[in-house]
């Protein structure tokens, strides 16, 4: 609607008339860090069909903005890499093509795990295929733990255990980031997922979605709840009360690099992050800088995120995300676009990439393959995935998540939990209306 009225106005205005650049038959848009999955797929597709693919590789910086603008303006590529949490949002706006019909004709479609297809669905239709999934945990630096005299393997049972360990680390070693709990707005979704959600899930009983951001039964966003308050209290303890982490590392010029360097220099004790760190703490694409699995196991360890320790809360928590690839609603040739998608996700290419990069499989056939099953790390991480959950990816989630990040940023700034949460509540009401926001006492 918006782009139509603008387009008409512009045509009247008289800029029109210059030809669009010649289009290849199929185009694909992806972020450069996914090249090792996408590019072999493109090569296979071109070899098989004789078509040329217009491949648009973009830097990770600005990728989300570009995708959103392109889809809104109708200029997006036919096949698009997406963060799984925006799929429902984009599908609700009518930008993506439902894949169900075409998928049922593809023999490998059945292998996708139903729970993971849920994440990329909207209104009962699947709109994208996931590339990988992940689990979240607390990583710890073994040499820091040794220096602080903490017994390993480390198995904290509650938030208090984690905080106590972190206080010991701080007292014994003096490092600035004894417990790095991702916060603030600069790292976007990472702060929501690796930090806030993991705590939130263990902060209250799962009953009635009391430990979530959305009450699904009533279809309302949760504006205030004991779980949100307890989670913010945890942030307050870490950043303000006990100063177990520095605010600035959450705003570094390149946060990923800053965290990795700090970890390598034994300047982080506990890091709340995800399963990819087993490679990404060195090099996500597995270059020569990556030590062997044994060497890495000697340097770092991990433990599941414990719940808060309050009665009826979960003992350990976990949430999964991941990326996905979808097809543009306005693809010139949907059949061909879907064929490109299935070629990228063909068992051979997809399986190799999954194992080589220690990604968690989204398909039963890959998870059952020898290469995957024989990897000790993947096996353990997959076990953790047995009791996982997904984000509250209902349309509007992106705004909610941004508000959550802002709430954690406010705590870093020294705003009280009470003020931060009332601001959050008010902003939710602004966005969704009073009738779509509830409060838990």
């Amino acid at each position: 609607m918006l782009n139509k009225s603008l387009a008409t106005a512009v045509a009247v205005f008289g800029v029109a008339g210059m030809a669009m650049p010649a289009h290849a038959e199929v185009s694909i848009m992806y972020a450069d860090w996914l090249s090792s999955l996408v590019e072999p797929g493109i090569a296979d597709f071109e070899a098989a069909t004789g078509e040329t693919v217009n491949a648009i590789k973009l830097p990770g910086e600005g990728y989300v903005e570009r995708v959103a603008l392109d889809l809104a303006a109708g200029t997006a590529a036919d096949v698009i890499q997406l963060d799984s949490f925006v799929v429902s949002e984009l599908a609700s706006a009518g930008y993506l093509m439902p894949l169900g019909d075409m998928g049922s004709d593809w023999d490998q479609y059945q292998h996708y795990m139903p729970a993971l297809l849920d994440v990329v669905s909207y209104d009962g239709e699947v709109y994208a295929l996931p590339t990988d999934t992940d689990v979240r945990m607390l990583w710890y630096d073994k040499s820091v733990f040794e220096a602080a005299g903490i017994a390993m393997p480390w198995e904290p049972q509650s938030w208090d255990d984690v905080l106590e360990t972190a206080r010991t680390i701080k007292a014994e070693t003096g490092i600035d980031n004894a417990f790095l709990l991702p916060a603030g707005t600069k790292q976007g979704e990472a702060a929501t997922m690796q930090g806030f959600y993991m705590a939130l899930l263990g902060a209250d009983t799962p009953e009635d979605d009391r430990n979530r951001l959305r009450n699904w039964a009533e279809g309302k966003w949760i504006g205030d709840s004991p779980a949100i308050r307890r989670t913010l209290e945890l942030y307050h303890d870490v950043y303000a009360e006990d100063e177990l982490a520095t605010a600035s590392i959450n705003y570094a010029t390149d946060i990923g690099a800053a965290v990795r360097e700090a970890m390598a220099n034994d300047e982080i004790g506990i890091l709340a992050s995800g399963s990819w760190e087993f490679t990404c703490l060195w090099d996500c694409n597995g270059g020569p800088a990556l030590p062997s699995a044994d060497e890495r196991n000697a340097l770092i360890g991990w433990t599941p995120w414990p719940g808060s320790g309050l009665p009826d809360t979960k003992a350990t928590t976990n949430i999964s995300g991941g990326w996905a690839i979808g097809v543009n609603k306005n693809a010139q040739d949907p059949e061909l676009a879907f064929q490109l998608l299935t070629t990228i996700f063909d068992a051979g290419n997809f399986g190799d990439w999954t194992v080589e990069n220690r990604r968690m499989a989204v398909r039963t056939d890959i998870a059952a393959s020898d290469a995957y099953a024989s990897d000790a790390y993947l096996a353990e991480a997959t076990a953790l995935a047995a009791d996982t959950t997904g984000r509250d990816t209902y349309p509007g989630y992106q705004v909610v998540s941004a508000l959550v990040q802002q709430m954690t940023a406010d705590i870093l700034d020294g705003v009280s939990v009470e003020d931060a949460i009332s601001e959050y509540h008010a902003s939710l009401v602004d966005e969704f209306g009073e009738e779509n926001v509830i409060t838990y006492e």
């Binding site: 669009m20 903005e65 390149d254 690099a257 990404c280 996500c284 694409n285």
Partner: protein, 275 residues
């Protein structure tokens, strides 16, 4: 004259020393850039390189860097030239014809342009898409549009300083408008034009967001986007590449500055506008 201004009979050694110290402070952040650029095993830490080599520069110049350099040049020089040509054509009539409210209008435009670029980028994008201008031409046009208010104001003020008597004399001798423009007005405002061109050039050279969303293909990306490939691998930065690439990236703008420097000094004097 300089001495009279500051009441010093000769350049004081103390001032020179203080200035040298200031220069040292100013240049110290570049220390990091240099050590990382010449260290093939750069880690991003501030340290004396174990070994010295040009591997980083070779790496930064290989791959798509050549094409990106050409794209940056086309975008920056194209924008600067188009801006200057369009602005000269309009600034001359504006300077010579007493259109009522012209100054207020120019200032209003400059103010309007203060709307941050992020605010107008969305409608611009839709318009470019409708017009089939999601390409390098579109980037140049969009940047020119954003540059015009400042440029118009500055160039009009430069033209105001060209004495009308010279034009009059030429006219009496039978020169056409064209000759007057080419032979008198433009040479006399050379400095101002150099300043405006330089500003448009560096502005366009450093632009990131517009080329990112306007370029349909990787082949159209300029160096400002290529710089981000140093961050490409989900956090694992290639510091050596980053440092070498940014030195290469900054070089043309520095070069253009020193080429135009002589012209620009007087040009800047004209920037002091009368309202």
């Amino acid at each position: 004259m300089a001495r009279e201004v500051m009441d010093q009979d000769r350049p004081s050694r103390l001032t020179a020393l203080a200035l040298a110290f200031l220069a040292l402070i100013w240049v110290s952040p570049f220390f990091w850039l240099m050590t990382n650029a010449i260290d093939p095993a750069a880690t991003g830490q501030l340290e004396v390189p174990q070994s010295i080599g040009i591997d980083n520069f070779v790496q930064a110049l290989s791959g798509s860097a050549g094409r990106q350099f050409v794209n940056s040049m086309l975008i920056a020089a194209g924008t600067a030239t188009l801006t200057v040509v369009v602005a000269i054509s309009a600034a001359y009539p504006l300077s010579r014809m007493r259109i009522p409210g012209r100054n207020a209008f120019l200032w209003a435009l400059v103010l309007l342009r203060m709307l941050p670029a992020t605010g107008v980028i969305v409608p611009m994008y839709f318009a470019a898409q409708a017009a089939g201008l999601l390409n390098m031409m579109g980037i140049v046009l969009a940047l020119t549009i954003l540059n015009l208010p400042f440029t118009l104001l500055l160039l009009k003020n430069f033209f105001d300083t060209v004495p009308i008597e010279l034009e009059e004399a030429a006219y009496v001798e039978g020169a056409s408008l064209w000759t007057i423009l080419i032979k008198i007005v433009l040479p006399l405002s050379k400095a101002g034009i150099a300043v405006v061109w330089f500003f448009s050039f560096t502005g366009a050279w450093n632009e990131f967001l517009l080329p990112l969303i306007f370029s349909r293909t990787e082949a159209g990306f300029p160096m400002s986007i290529g710089l981000y490939s140093a961050f490409g691998r989900q956090g694992s930065i290639d510091y050596g590449f980053l440092a070498a690439f940014s030195i290469i990236y900054a070089a043309p703008a520095v070069g253009v500055y020193f080429l135009l420097r002589r012209n620009m000094n007087t040009g800047f004097a004209g920037v002091g506008v009368k309202g």
